[in-house]
C-alpha cells in the first residue's frame, strides 16, 4: 500500500538555490513594481485591460515569492524588498473597491441617513439635555433676572440683557431700522458663524470618548444660553418674535448640534458599555458611525450658516421665518428617518 519511493532521479535534479530562485522570478517583481507605480500615479483608469488582468496575477506571484524567500533565502535586501512590495500591492489591490463618485453617492443616499438613524437614542438624550438646559435657565432668569449675567457672557449678549429696552431688543431681531450692520457684511457674518459652529461641534464630538460627560456638559451649556436669552425676550413680550428669529436657522443648527453631541455620546457609551466586544473594538465601531454623522453635521452647519447669515437678515417677517424653519426641520426629519429600500440589503 505504501507508494513506491521516488526514483533515484532526484539526485541529478537541479539543486535549489536562492540565486536561481531570484533570477527566475525577478522579472515578475519588476513588472509588479512598475504596475503599482502607474496605479498610484494615474489611478486605475490609466491601466489597460491587459494590465488590469495582470495585476492580481503579479500580486499573487509576489506574495508567493515572499513566502518562498522567507523559507529559503537569507538575503536581507531581497526579503525587505519583497515585503515592502507585497505590502504596497496588498493595499492597492484590496484597498479601493468603488469609484470616488460612487462613494459620494452612497454616502448621501444611504450611509449618512443610516448613521444618523442608528444614533437615534443618543440624539434624543442630547436633545433632552439641551431642552433641560434651556428650561433651567429660562425659569431661573424669569424668576430673577440677575441670574442672566451668570449664564450669558458680556460679549455674547451684546447689550441684549434684562436692562435693555423693548425697542432695542426688537431692533436686534431685525425689525427696526437700527439693525446694525448693513447687508454687505452678511456673507462674512454667515461664514464666520459656519466656521465657529463647526469647530464647536467637532469639539463636542471629539470630547465624547471621555465617557460622554464633557459632551453632555457642552450641550447643556448651549441650552442654558438659549433659555436665558429666551427669558429676556419673553419678559418684554417679544417671545414670539424671538422664536421666529431663532427658528429660521435654529432648527437646522440645533439639530446639527444635537447630532454632534449624539456622535460623541455614542463613542463614550461604547467605551463604558462595550457589550460582548472588547472595548477597543466597540470604540472603533462607534467611531466609524460617528465619523459619518460628523460629515453630515458639518454640511448641516453650512446650511444653517447660510440660513442665519442670509435668510434671517433678509427675511424679517416672523411668520415666514417660522415657516422656513419648520420646512427645514421637516426636510431633515424626512431625509433621516423615512426608511428606504437599501435598508433591507
Amino acid at each position: 500500500m505504501i507508494p513506491a519511493a521516488p526514483p533515484a532521479r532526484a539526485l541529478d535534479a537541479p539543486s535549489f538555490s536562492a540565486s536561481r530562485f531570484r533570477a527566475e522570478r525577478e522579472a515578475d517583481w519588476i513588472a509588479f513594481d512598475l504596475l503599482l507605480t502607474k496605479l498610484e500615479k494615474k489611478g486605475a483608469k490609466a491601466l489597460t485591460s491587459d494590465e488590469l488582468l495582470q495585476l492580481p496575477l503579479l500580486y499573487r506571484a509576489t506574495l508567493s515569492s515572499l513566502s518562498i524567500a522567507r523559507a529559503t533565502s537569507l538575503d536581507k535586501a531581497l526579503l525587505d524588498h519583497l515585503k515592502a512590495l507585497s505590502i504596497r500591492g496588498y493595499f492597492l489591490v484590496y484597498g479601493v473597491r468603488e469609484t470616488r463618485w460612487n462613494r459620494v453617492r452612497r454616502f448621501f443616499l444611504y450611509d449618512w441617513p443610516a448613521a444618523v438613524r442608528s444614533v437615534w437614542k443618543e440624539t434624543i438624550i442630547i436633545s433632552l439635555i439641551i431642552l433641560l438646559g434651556a428650561i433651567t435657565s429660562y425659569s431661573l432668569v424669569a424668576s430673577n433676572p440677575e441670574w442672566y449675567y451668570n449664564f450669558v457672557g458680556e460679549d455674547m449678549a451684546g447689550g441684549r440683557d434684562p436692562r435693555a429696552t423693548r425697542e432695542f431688543l426688537q431692533s436686534t431681531l431685525g425689525h427696526g431700522k437700527a439693525a446694525g450692520e448693513g447687508e454687505s457684511g452678511l456673507h462674512i457674518f454667515a461664514t464666520y458663524l459656519f466656521t465657529h459652529n463647526s469647530r464647536v461641534s467637532i469639539m463636542s464630538f471629539a470630547l465624547g470618548f471621555a465617557f460622554g460627560v464633557p459632551t453632555m456638559m457642552l450641550e447643556y451649556y448651549q441650552g442654558i444660553g438659549l433659555g436665558a436669552m429666551m427669558a429676556v425676550f419673553a419678559g418684554k413680550g417679544l417671545g414670539f418674535d424671538f422664536g421666529g428669529w431663532l427658528f429660521i436657522h435654529g432648527t437646522t443648527e440645533l439639530f446639527a448640534a444635537a447630532l454632534s453631541g449624539a456622535a460623541g455620546l455614542r463613542i463614550g457609551a461604547a467605551v463604558v458599555f462595550p457589550g460582548a466586544r472588547s472595548r477597543l473594538q466597540a470604540a472603533s465601531h462607534a467611531g466609524r458611525t460617528a465619523g459619518k454623522v460628523m460629515i453630515g453635521v458639518i454640511l448641516m452647519l453650512f446650511m444653517a450658516g447660510l440660513l442665519e447669515g442670509f435668510g434671517r437678515q433678509l427675511i424679517t417677517d416672523t411668520m415666514l421665518r417660522y415657516g422656513i424653519g419648520t420646512l427645514m426641520l421637516l426636510f431633515w426629519i424626512g431625509y433621516y428617518y423615512i426608511p428606504r429600500r437599501e435598508d433591507v440589503t
Binding site: 531570484r22 504596497r88 463647526s198 470618548f209 473594538q281 467611531g287
Partner: protein
C-alpha cells in the same frame, strides 16, 4: 560574558519583534507590519503643519491681492472658507487617497491602515482626523483660556494643560502607538517604506577566491550574516576593514588578501551554508544559538 551578550542580543531582538504586528492577507501570507515610531509620527505632523501654514500664507497673499484689486469683500468669505477647509480637510483629503498618507507621512515612509486588516474607509479617516482637532488645539486652548482670564490661577491652568497633554500624548502610553483618534477610528499607522531591489551580491563577479572550512563557517548565525551583508552593500572601506579584522581574529586567519575579497567569499560561503541548513528546517538566529 558571552551569556550576558547572548541575553542582550535576545532582548534587542525581542524589542524589535514587539513592534511587528501579524497581518495576514486573504492569501494566507503574514505581511508583518511594523508600527511606526512616535518620533516618525511627530516628524510627519511637523512637516504637515509647516506645509499647512505655508499653503495658508500663500493663499492669504493671493486673496489679499485679489481683494485689493477687486475692492470686494467676497474674498474675505473665500479666505475664511478656504482656511477652514485647509485646516479640517488637509489630513482627511490626503489620507483618503490610494497611499493613505499625508505629504508628511509619505516623507517619513508611513501610512494609515485599518486595524482589522480590512480596507480603510472614509468614515474611519474622518473620525481619526476630527479627533486631531482636539488633540492639537486643546492644550493650546487651555493656555489661551488660562492667560485670558485672571481668575484662573497658575496651578489650575497647569493642571488643565497637563490633563490635555496626557490626551495629546496618548500614543506614548500604549504599545501600538495609537493616537486617541486611531483608537476611536480603529486604525494603525505602520511603516510603508519603499525598498529598492539591490543587486544579488551572492552571484555577481568571479567565483570564490578562497575557501573556508566547515569549522570556520560554523561560528556565525543569521544575524551576523545579515550584518555582514549590510556592511558589504554600504561599501564603506573603514567598516569593512573593521569587520574583516574581527572575523579574521575569530577564525584565526592571517591577513593575506584584500578585505572586500575576503568578506565577499566569507559571506557567500556562510550564506550558502546557512541556507542549506534552512532548507533542512534548521534556523540558527545568531552566533549564540547552537549550531
Amino acid at each position: 560574558m558571552s551569556a550576558a551578550a547572548a541575553k542582550a542580543n535576545a532582548k534587542s531582538r525581542a524589542s524589535r519583534a514587539k513592534k511587528i504586528r501579524q497581518f495576514i492577507t486573504p492569501e494566507g501570507v503574514d505581511l508583518e507590519l511594523k508600527i511606526a515610531s512616535s518620533g516618525l509620527r511627530f516628524g510627519a505632523l511637523l512637516v504637515d503643519l509647516i506645509l499647512i501654514i505655508l499653503a495658508l500664507f500663500l493663499f492669504s497673499l493671493v486673496m489679499l491681492w485679489i481683494g485689493f484689486a477687486s475692492q470686494s469683500d467676497i474674498t474675505i468669505v473665500v479666505w475664511m472658507l478656504g482656511a477652514f477647509v485647509l485646516r479640517t480637510f488637509w489630513f482627511i483629503g490626503f489620507e483618503l487617497g490610494s497611499r493613505a498618507a499625508t505629504p508628511g507621512k509619505r516623507l517619513m515612509g508611513i501610512r494609515v491602515v485599518a486595524r482589522d486588516g480590512g480596507r480603510l474607509t472614509a468614515d474611519a479617516v474622518v473620525a481619526r482626523n476630527l479627533i486631531r482637532e482636539l488633540e492639537l488645539f486643546l492644550p493650546l486652548m487651555m493656555v489661551g483660556v488660562g492667560a485670558a482670564e485672571d481668575a484662573v490661577s497658575g496651578w489650575t491652568m497647569l493642571a488643565g494643560v497637563l490633563w490635555s497633554l496626557t490626551l495629546s500624548l496618548f500614543l506614548l502610553f500604549n504599545r501600538d502607538r495609537m493616537r486617541m483618534g486611531d483608537l476611536i477610528a480603529g486604525t494603525w499607522v505602520v511603516m510603508a517604506q519603499r525598498v529598492k531591489l539591490d543587486a544579488d551580491i551572492a552571484t555577481d563577479g568571479a567565483g570564490d577566491a578562497m575557501l573556508f572550512s566547515e569549522a570556520e563557517l560554523s561560528v556565525y548565525g543569521i544575524f551576523e550574516l545579515q550584518e555582514l551583508e549590510r556592511v558589504l552593500r554600504s561599501k564603506d572601506a573603514r567598516a569593512m576593514r573593521e569587520v574583516a579584522d574581527t572575523i579574521r581574529a575569530k577564525i584565526g586567519r592571517a591577513i593575506a588578501e584584500e578585505d572586500d575579497v575576503f568578506l565577499l567569499s566569507y559571506y557567500r560561503q556562510l550564506k550558502a551554508r546557512l541556507e542549506r541548513k534552512l532548507l533542512f528546517g534548521k534556523r540558527r538566529e545568531d552566533k549564540y544559538a547552537s549550531d
